[in-house]
């Protein structure tokens, strides 16, 4: 076969391969949305993180503003310490609150940030005040509480 024909086909092949990689990165992966942007890290303490995993989304008002970087256990205070990478272009006040929420009834868990009213902003390495964090809602706990309340209601004389 002519060398130029071979070159053409090989060129097409390489373009197709690189194109497939680009599609995977942009359309399938989260390359287009988040990674690559500069981030700063903030941490928060929770008494129960439920099923939160590293790389889970950090959302504020429903918009993804960052990702969970690391989850560790604080052996002194017996709480979970969640480190989050938040995009640099989003700043949050110092008294912002964090809660672990669930997308839908059985969906994946994410950290919800709610902005406070203070003037000073959270800087890299800062932590959210422990009084302003809300742990994951554990479904079993809710159900057992509900059952307990129902049982108490039914047992009391009317």
């Amino acid at each position: 076969m002519e060398r130029s024909t071979i070159d053409l086909w090989v060129g097409l092949f390489v373009v197709a391969g690189l194109g497939a990689l680009t599609i995977l990165a942009l359309k399938v992966g989260n390359m287009g949305s988040l990674t690559g942007n500069e981030t700063y890290s903030i941490s928060a303490q929770f008494t129960d993180i439920g099923g939160l995993k590293p790389r889970a989304a950090v959302k504020s008002a429903g918009v993804v503003v960052g990702r969970v970087a690391d989850i560790s256990f604080d052996g002194d205070k017996f709480v979970a310490k969640v480190t989050m990478n938040v995009e640099k272009r989003y700043k949050f006040p110092k008294d912002s609150s964090a809660a672990i929420r669930t997308a839908g009834l059985l969906g994946e868990q994410y950290v919800g940030l709610e902005a406070g009213g203070e003037e000073a902003m959270l800087l890299s390495g800062d932590g959210i005040k422990p009084s302003l964090t809300q742990s994951a809602v554990v479904l079993e706990k809710l159900i057992s509480q509900f059952m307990y309340n129902k049982a108490a209601e039914g047992g009391s004389p009317k």
Binding site: I23, L24, V28, G29, N30, M31, G32, R55, L106
Partner: protein
């Protein structure tokens, strides 16, 4: 105490082991030689381009078709299973993660071994049988630099590209069945996929896997061809061994790489 047959069998085991270790040593020396002698083919790129045509371009049809069908089957099967838990919208995640992490690199490497690897072995084996390699040496042309190295690099380059095409086609096949045919919500199909598939953790790891498979398959194929006994049976045996050995090596390497890459998740 021992009868003669047992001793001969026992000796056979030892002979076989020593033989295989020797072959492995020769294969390693062969790989090092190939890499050391790659200078020529990088200066004369058309040598690699020609091999890229035979290994990469000609493998594309089988890769595209099987990627599409694997994705479509996963669309069906995944939907059936996920429906039980009422989470059909996670179909995109299922299809994309299994393709990008595992099926893309592994299945395309298996196809590559049988489509391109066997052809490489047969070609080089036949070149050796018909004494073309010796003729090159007579003309002071190094057969490793002229014949082996371009094929090696062509295999290493085309493997990740083929794996990426396979994964992309698979995701498209899953989309065709899941969204177009069955009617899973298109928005949640893509959105959940994008939030679950990480570029560094999943896609880059998949590419690393396919590069490793590419090196392994091409190395095995070239070595089997170069080492084939110069007879018709020798070449056919070497071709069979290429497919069997590289398939086993791909699966073994995949387990090791997966164990390293996805430990913490």
């Amino acid at each position: 105490m021992f009868n003669r047959g047992a001793i001969i069998n026992f000796r056979g085991v030892g002979h076989h082991t020593v033989d295989n270790v020797l072959r492995l040593g020769f294969a390693t020396r062969f790989l090092v030689l190939t890499i050391l002698h790659s200078g020529t083919c990088f200066r004369r790129m058309h040598l690699i381009t020609r091999e890229l045509y035979y290994t990469g371009v000609l493998s594309m049809i089988i890769i595209v078709v099987s990627g599409l069908f694997v994705g479509m089957v996963m669309g069906f099967q995944g939907y059936q299973t996920l429906k039980t838990y009422g989470s059909e919208s996670a179909l995109g995640v299922l299809v994309a993660l299994s393709l990008v992490r595992e099926l893309g690199p592994v299945v395309s490497a298996l196809l590559f071994a049988s489509r391109a690897g066997s052809a490489m072995t047969a070609e080089i084996g036949l070149m050796k049988t018909t004494e073309q390699l010796s003729a090159m040496e007579m003309m002071a042309v190094d057969p490793i630099a002229r014949v082996v190295a371009p094929r090696f690099w062509a295999g290493v380059i085309s493997m990740p590209l083929l794996a990426a095409i396979f994964s992309a086609m698979g995701v498209y096949g899953g989309y065709l069945i899941g969204v177009v045919f069955i009617g899973v919500d298109e928005g949640s199909f893509w959105a959940q996929m994008q939030s679950a598939v990480d570029f560094r953790e999943d896609i880059v790891n998949g590419v690393i896997k396919s590069v490793v498979f590419g090196i392994a398959v091409t190395w095995i194929a070239l070595f089997e061809g170069y080492d084939a006994p110069p007879t018709a049976e020798g070449v056919s045996g070497a071709t069979t061994r290429t497919v069997v050995t590289s398939s086993l090596v791909i699966l073994g390497l995949d387990f090791i790489l997966t164990a390293f890459m996805f430990r913490g998740i």
